[in-house]
């Protein structure tokens, strides 16, 4: 809980791409397959006495089927005790040695994370406890019933947030029948329908060695890292890798959804399914979006919406690639009586950009920003862990970081223009508008 509120000049949204400059060598990624068949990705980082570890399963909400919320609740319950010890006792074992344990899930992935000091006794206790959680989470009925209620309350709370309401409507309209259409935290109906047995079944099926990748970074040598991973995985059944997800179908036509809400601002989301990890157009689209709305205040959308007209505090566009096409999303919020103007400016700016293309000047500026900022992408163990986990899970080449800069430099203006025209459908976007009267 933050006791002090801070205001920032621009809102901080997650950047969705990673880049490299040739002057700095990318981290030396080592890769091997553990005895249990799990892919391991490792970087030795001896600077600080810390080990960071992430085990990622192909067990995101895209695997929920008709029980939306299943993946999320399964992941959530990993914090509710294991091996007969309750949540408090498990947490005491982590916290007693200063370790940080985390677990979460998104549409594609479910993961467990651990950060520990390298001091052997402390590291052992932290990793022994992690092994307990991975092997024998409790999933007791009483824990499940209570957490189910908490999920329902949190769903209720979402209804007071225009941005959350908008996101839900946006995904539904953009993805139709595809599993990505569902929100990871489910609906009132599906959460009520879930049982502890459903979670156990989901866990048994997906939290298996052949469906996992492991990323490990820190002050630990390869031999010790290998030993640690063997300890974690030795009692995890091999199981089967999850099947590939269905492909996303592009939208056939434009659609606008308006939802009233007693807020002073109206939130606008606009876009359509965009690109995927490993997409041959991925880098071109990343660079192509940079000058549109991917680079904070130095972008066309920011210029048109914020700098020229003072309409919105936050305005952006980005691609968020997943295993299948993730969203291309444009967004802003403005006071209720200005929303029509806001929507018009967003649409016009996207259309102009796609029709006439990026300028030579914009390309130069974007390239410089992306390549010049590379060292910032990998300046901490935590960030390196993020790359490893991503490269591992999405089966990207191990040279992903080494090649990135060359790839960005080689992209031409013509290529960007052609690709953006082909991949951004300004005439077939979903627009969701939440706020004010209908």
């Amino acid at each position: 809980m933050d006791a002090i509120k801070m205001m920032t000049r621009i809102s901080l949204f997650l950047s969705v791409c990673f880049v490299i400059l040739p002057v700095q060598a990318a981290p030396d990624i080592q890769h091997w397959t553990s005895k249990q068949g799990t892919q391991v990705f490792y970087v030795h980082a001896p600077g600080l006495p810390i080990v960071d570890l992430q085990i990622t399963f192909d067990a995101g909400s895209a695997r929920d089927g008709n029980l939306s919320g299943l993946s999320s609740m399964t992941s959530h319950m990993l914090g509710m005790g294991a091996a007969g010890l309750d949540a408090t006792k498990i947490a005491q074992r982590f916290e007693g040695v200063g370790a940080e344990f985390g677990h979460s899930a998104d549409r594609d992935r479910a993961w467990l994370k651990l950060r520990s000091l390298t001091q052997q006794k402390w590291l052992d206790q932290a990793t022994d406890t992690l092994a307990m959680v991975m092997e024998k989470p409790n999933f007791t009925q009483s824990d499940f019933t209570r957490e189910q209620k908490r999920y329902l309350i949190s769903l209720k709370r979402e209804k007071q947030s225009p941005s959350k309401i908008a996101a839900r409507a946006f995904y539904k309209a953009a993805y139709g029948d595809h599993p990505y259409a569902q929100m990871p935290n489910g609906t009132e109906k599906t959460i009520k329908a879930l049982t502890a047995a459903d979670l156990k079944k989901f866990f048994a099926k997906y939290y298996v060695a052949s469906n996992a990748t492991i990323a490990i970074v820190g002050d630990i040598d390869r031999k010790a890292a290998n030993k640690l991973i063997d300890k974690l995985m030795k009692n995890i059944p091999a199981g089967k890798p999850a099947k590939p997800l269905p492909k996303v179908v592009d939208l056939k036509k434009a659609q606008t959804i308006r939802i009233s809400h007693p807020s002073t601002q109206t939130h606008v989301y606009m876009g359509h399914p965009g690109n995927y990890r490993g997409d041959p157009d991925y880098f071109v689209m990343y660079l192509g979006n940079h000058a549109l709305g991917g680079s904070g205040l130095v972008s066309r959308l920011s210029d048109e919406v914020r700098e020229k007209r003072g309409l919105s505090y936050s305005v952006y566009s980005y691609f968020s690639p997943l295993a299948r096409k993730g969203l291309f999303q444009v967004g802003m919020q403005t006071k209720n009586d200005q929303v029509d103007l806001g929507v018009k400016v967003l649409r016009q700016t996207i259309k102009d950009y796609v029709d006439t293309g990026m300028t030579e000047k914009e390309l130069t500026a974007s390239r410089k920003n992306i390549t010049g900022g590379f060292p910032l992408r990998i300046d901490s163990n935590k960030k390196i862990l993020g790359y490893l986990a991503m490269i591992g899970f999405y089966k990207l080449p191990l040279t992903y970081l080494d090649d990135f800069n060359k790839t960005i430099e080689a992209i031409s203006l013509k290529q960007i223009h052609e690709t953006m025209r082909r991949r951004v459908h300004s005439d077939r976007m979903v627009t969701v508008i939440v706020g004010g009267e209908k």
């Binding site: 002090i4 916290e95 007693g96 940080e100 936050s314």
Partner: protein, 457 residues
């Protein structure tokens, strides 16, 4: 000019090897500007931050939010650089930049590849004294800030409750007012208000430059002299009036009624900060106390009130020791299904009572201390965080060297001390309670007589 080189201390035996690597250097220029450099050579990057001793707690009624609006306007051009040019140049250098305003500070930062520090210094020095405030730019930007306020506060029932809570928890303390300012003050703000504010506070003798990363301290010092050295200090810099909060003599309570789905309870006790405390052990004991209640999953509030008793669906405790003025020890909670705000309050008060009547266990204390030792190492993985801490401590007037004490002081806290501060500060007469009362979300329903009063302003 002076220079000191003091190692940051990490107080656990096996981490001793770390100590030697982490050097902090401090310099002062002739014009009063302070420079703090933290060398960290793990990655070829640098963080540059300029901290000004000004924020919402320096403001008076009628101009609330002026520090923050000025922060926005700092990107709108100088004689040398056109509006927006600052951001474009940083971007062209591969940099990331932003700025933030708090109660006690306004700060600007860039993250850059290490060889580009001079780009930051040149432009930061330029806008420290050379800002051109245009009314045209201001009229647009203040609208952006109003949108920011709508986004962060007006449409967020819990944030709105927090703002109202602060408004009644203090009578004279400037921590009463929101950092972003009251909407009405934003509406009546003029570019002249900003000009006065800028002239008063933006000067080298009111600024601290913090640099962290793969740099050499002495080279940074030379660079700082080159760019910031020529700036003239302000002659009429005077510290803000103390506006000391009179002692609270009795509980304060409010209700906030607005469209919402869930009720929400926020409680806060008047407590000292490190800056104002007579005995600093009290502050560290309060920090440990916050850790006993809410420092992780195994701590009391989530263990007992959420998981065991099921009275709350979410809860937290918060205390910030690094504020310039006395602040609040906060507790919050959302009742679980079938439970009331009244039960939530009673449950939280019972936990406070227990802290007063019985001692915390050795196990709890040991866990908190282990976490503090570990966090102290983990924080070093982020040079941005390290720079933030140095800048905060320096700007609130503690001096960055006090950071060195932190781990040892926490480790020295005893169960008796935790009990003592609970008895001294967490008492009914120093408590303020705010309750968010949800009103119907549907506007039509809200207009029905049974719907009660409108919360929306």
């Amino acid at each position: 000019m002076q220079r000191m080189n003091v190692a940051m201390l990490v107080c656990a035996g096996f981490l001793a090897s770390l100590v030697a690597e982490a050097g902090v250097s401090e310099y002062q220029l002739d014009n009063g500007l302070k420079l703090i450099v933290q060398e960290d050579h793990r990655a070829p990057v640098v963080i540059s931050q300029v901290w000004y001793k000004v924020g919402s707690s320096y403001e008076t009624n009628g101009i609330t939010g002026v520090s923050h609006v000025l922060e926005h306007m700092m990107f709108k051009g100088t004689k040398k650089f056109a509006p927006g040019e600052f951001s474009r140049i940083i971007a062209a250098n591969g940099g990331r930049e932003n700025a933030f305003t708090g109660r006690d500070y306004t700060a600007y930062f860039q993250r850059l590849e290490k060889s580009r520090l001079k780009v930051s210094f040149e432009m930061e020095a330029d806008r420290m004294r050379g800002l051109q405030l245009s009314d045209k730019e201001f009229q647009k930007e203040v609208k952006v800030v109003m949108e920011e306020r709508r986004l962060r506060t007006e449409d967020k029932p819990e944030a709105y409750t927090y703002e109202q809570f602060n408004g009644v928890a203090s009578i004279t303390s400037p921590y009463r007012t929101p950092v972003i300012g009251w909407m009405n003050d934003l509406k009546s703000m003029k570019v002249e208000d900003l000009a006065v504010w800028y002239k008063q506070w933006y000067a080298p003798n009111n600024a601290t430059v913090v640099v962290a990363g793969d740099v050499k301290a002495d080279e940074v010092y030379q660079l700082a002299k080159q760019y910031f050295g020529p700036l003239k200090p302000s002659k009429n810099l005077s510290p803000p009036k103390p506006q000391t909060e009179p002692e609270q003599k009795g509980q304060r309570r409010i209700k906030v009624k607005m469209p919402a789905q869930l009720p929400y309870l926020l409680m806060g006790y008047a407590v000292p900060s490190l800056k104002v405390a007579k005995d600093d052990w009290e502050v560290y004991a309060l920090e440990v106390l916050a850790g006993v209640l809410d420092g992780g999953t195994s701590t009391r509030l989530s263990t007992r009130l959420v998981r065991e008793q099921g009275i709350l669906t979410s809860t937290g405790a918060g205390y910030s020791l690094s504020s310039r003025l006395a602040g609040r020890f906060l507790l919050e909670g959302v009742p679980a299904q079938g439970h009331t705000i009244k039960q939530a309050e009673a449950a939280l008060l019972k936990e406070i009572k227990e802290l007063q009547t019985s001692m915390v266990s050795k196990g709890e204390l040991d866990r908190i201390k282990a976490q503090v030792v570990a966090s102290n190492v983990y924080e070093r993985d982020s040079i941005f965080y390290q720079a933030m801490q140095l800048g905060t401590y320096e700007t609130v007037g503690l001096g960055w060297k006090r950071l060195d004490d932190y781990v040892a002081k926490i480790q020295a806290v005893t169960p008796e001390q935790v009990q003592q501060v609970a008895k001294k500060y967490l008492i009914e007469d120093k408590l303020t309670v705010a309750e968010l009362v949800p009103m119907p979300m549907d506007k039509k329903a809200a207009r029905k007589p049974s719907g009660g009063a409108h919360g929306r302003h």
